[in-house]
Amino acid sequence: MRTSIRAMTLLVLLLCFPMIPSHGHAEGLAKEQVLTIAFDAGDAKTFDPHRAASTVDRSTVDSMFNGLVRYPPGRQVGFEPDLAESWEVSKDGKTWTFHLRKGVYFHPFPGFPEGYELTSEDVVYSLQRAANPEHSAYAGEYEGVQVKAVDPYTLQIQIAKPISETLFLAKFANYAGGFIVSKKALETKGEDWFKTHPVGTGPFRFENYEPQQKTVLARHDKYFRGKPILEKVVIRYMPNVSSREFGLRTGELQIIEGLNEAKWIEKVATFPDVKVQTFGPCEVQMLHFNMTKKPFDDIRVRKAFCYAVSRAEVAAFMGESLAEPIYSGALAPPAPGALTKQEAEEAGVVYEDNVEMAKKLLAEAGYPNGFETEVIISELATSYRKPMVALQAQVKKAGINMKKLKVVDHSSFHGLIRDDASPLVYYACWRPNVDVFLTRFFHSDSTVVSGKKPDTNFSHYGTVDADGDGTIDTIDQLIEQARWELDAQKQADLWRKAQIQLLSDVSHLPVIRLKYAFPMKSYVDLGHPLEYSWQTYSPQITEKTRILAH
């Protein structure tokens, strides 16, 4: 009897043995180094780095590709070497010479089971591809750029007019067109194959993709910074925030894209084994006044609108731990050349938090009883709808009645605002530098519908008399002047001057910048501090990222 009891006990223990968690490793690492990260996305759109635009796609390609230089992970201010170990610029500023690292290997792919070593030929091919609008969404960034291979590890990039390092290196960093793709993979397998089987030099290589479910990346053993600690990275497409939250709680997910809402973050932070780190600054949120539409053609009305707004209240509404008021006309500090609050105040271009002044200006403009207006706004809550609701409530106190917020899906929103259909455009975005921001939003050529290259100049700045003095107001020359200025300080000053002019003419109202939240299991170590992550909007997964024993 006693023997049978012992045997039964042993059997039960044996059956239970696999259920006892066994994550520990002697070195403090979990036995299974598989990281699952879930994004707020229904599916992947593309794995082509020269086309990736959404948060999830940018994050995925970021782990598979490199640039010549890169933004330091987690603190993306300035540049550091990536595929290029050094570079120099000629005296005339028109020729940049890059020296590539040796021993950088592409991921294996059919025909090249061991991958192959990166040479300048790949970089030349890749940058030419980035400049081709047939294959790249960012072709406009590479106009007039000539690239040639000098030897297998040296290449030269020539530009027609010298530009500052800030602007130049941004084109060749690990963002958008700057990612280096495999020439041999594209030449032997073709563009269509590459779109679904990306081949880069990054710490992780593409393994497989299941539509609407996941993409699996596997460790690139020959990664030039060393063999990554993680064996696999699983990128999950989960558009429902509750599901992501539940997945994090059960441990099926280790990192999730969160809601940028303070209350939600406070709740998730109470979950066991979960840490919530917010990072930024990411996108800036601004309200653009369409100066061709009444009553916003009158600067007094635009100023009244600004005076009716309290940025601090909007930030509080969004959650003080996440949102912060901004006063810059383009991007936000620490981006070089972005105007600080102090600089804006000194220039006298801060109009806010004064309802009485708003009413007075409206009366002067012929609207003593205020006016009504309609606004088209995107369905996206934190970047568009929610801050717009806060503005709607604030300006109503001054008599401005945004009686109807016409909420449309995000694609419709982008279509309608580019058709000049809304008198006010609330827009949230990030751009790699102030030059791009000013060009795309305020250069006369970028004016929606009527510009030479219609883009996102929703205010029509540069084509209208903004301040009512009888002349067209423009910053086109300032943008051009700053672009070709080589001295970083002078360039930043010119950008500030342009912003002061815009804010003085009240073409738009900078409102807030929003941090992002990606809750993660406490045993996930990213391998780098997470302060800024603006080119991916998400924590970067690098060769140093690891899962600790838990």
């Binding site: 699952t36 539509p211 509750s242």
Partner: protein, 313 residues
């Protein structure tokens, strides 16, 4: 029978044609540029134009329509301009998940709904009947996304019996079933509500028929009367309901797919609408239309198996 099937299939062609034309027109009336949706708002104007050209969006509408019909006639569902994947390949990967979810929901619906409906009918106007009717009303009233979240909280968080994330792998049936159970139950409770109500009313109608009274008069046991005579005759509307609601379930599955992070045809369609992925959207709608036609045809054919009086000319 064969002639009947061929005739029904031929009759469905105009229906498909109308659906295709409507979808083609409606997606193009919506504001938003597929090229901008694909490349993002930071894309250069040249790149957006190049993609529009590649997608054939710069061609006149009538030409785009003819190209679309031509591709379909060749059996080509096209290539998604957003992902670069052939639409047929995407559909083949996600359709089995939608079908297994729908099938599972129907199974749950009948397994739970028929006994509840029978007990309601037999014990009409008693506590059991009231309880079943309230239960079925709840199934109809509670949105699938809410019910799904409640089930996750209960069976994944409080009692961690099932996984939350993903749809599992078809090559691992046990894992697949574990992933399927809760989504199937969520959608199945909707189906249960319909089946319960229909079973109850159908049995109440049948139970008053002369042949039932005759069976009782002959001294046939109640259980035999109920299951052999009443239920078989009451099944016709219940089977019809299954067919009709299979179509509804496929349509309703999108919320369940989103809550349980499962792939599926509904999710593919919603994504295509959001991205203005005309090619995928048009193709998915075609597949939906074909599924509806085929299910209706299948139901008509099943009638003959249940009711020998029905003949196909």
């Amino acid at each position: 029978m064969f002639t009947y099937v061929v005739r029904r299939i031929l009759q469905s062609i105009p229906i498909l044609f109308v659906v295709l034309t409507l979808v083609f027109v409606v997606v193009r009336v919506l504001p938003g540029d597929p090229a901008v949706a694909a490349l993002g708002d930071y894309a250069s104007k040249e790149a957006v134009e190049a993609l529009r050209e590649k997608m054939g969006l710069n061609a006149p509408l009538w030409l785009q329509y003819i190209r679309f019909l031509g591709s379909l006639a060749r059996g080509d569902l096209g290539i998604s301009a957003i992902t670069g994947y052939p639409v047929a390949q995407q559909v083949v990967k996600v359709l089995p998940h939608t079908l297994e979810l729908t099938f599972c929901a129907i199974v749950f619906g009948y397994l739970l709904g028929i006994p509840l409906g029978i007990s309601s009918a037999v014990k009409r106007n008693t506590f059991v009947d009231y309880f079943n009717r309230v239960f079925s009303l709840l199934g109809l009233s509670v949105p699938a996304f809410y019910l799904g979240i409640l089930l996750i909280l209960l069976f994944c968080i409080q009692f961690p019996l099932f996984p939350v994330v993903g749809a599992g792998d078809f090559s691992r049936p046990v894992e697949n079933l574990r992933h399927l159970f809760l989504p199937g139950l969520t959608l199945g409770l909707l189906m249960t509500a319909y089946v319960t109500r229909m079973t109850r009313s159908s049995i109440l109608d049948t139970i008053r028929e002369d042949f039932v009274r005759t069976a009782y008069a002959k001294g046939v046991a109640e259980r035999v009367v109920l299951y052999k005579h009443v239920l078989r005759n009451a099944m016709i509307p219940i089977v019809t309901l299954g067919g009709l609601y299979a179509v509804v379930l496929i349509g309703s599955s999108v919320m369940v797919e989103i809550v349980f992070s499962r792939p599926g045809l509904g999710k593919l369609m919603v994504g295509a609408i959001k991205q203005r992925d005309y090619t995928t959207l048009q193709s998915v709608m075609v597949i939906y239309a074909v599924i509806v036609v085929m299910i209706n045809l299948a139901i008509d054919l099943i009638y003959g198996l249940i009711d020998p009086r029905i003949k196909y000319d």
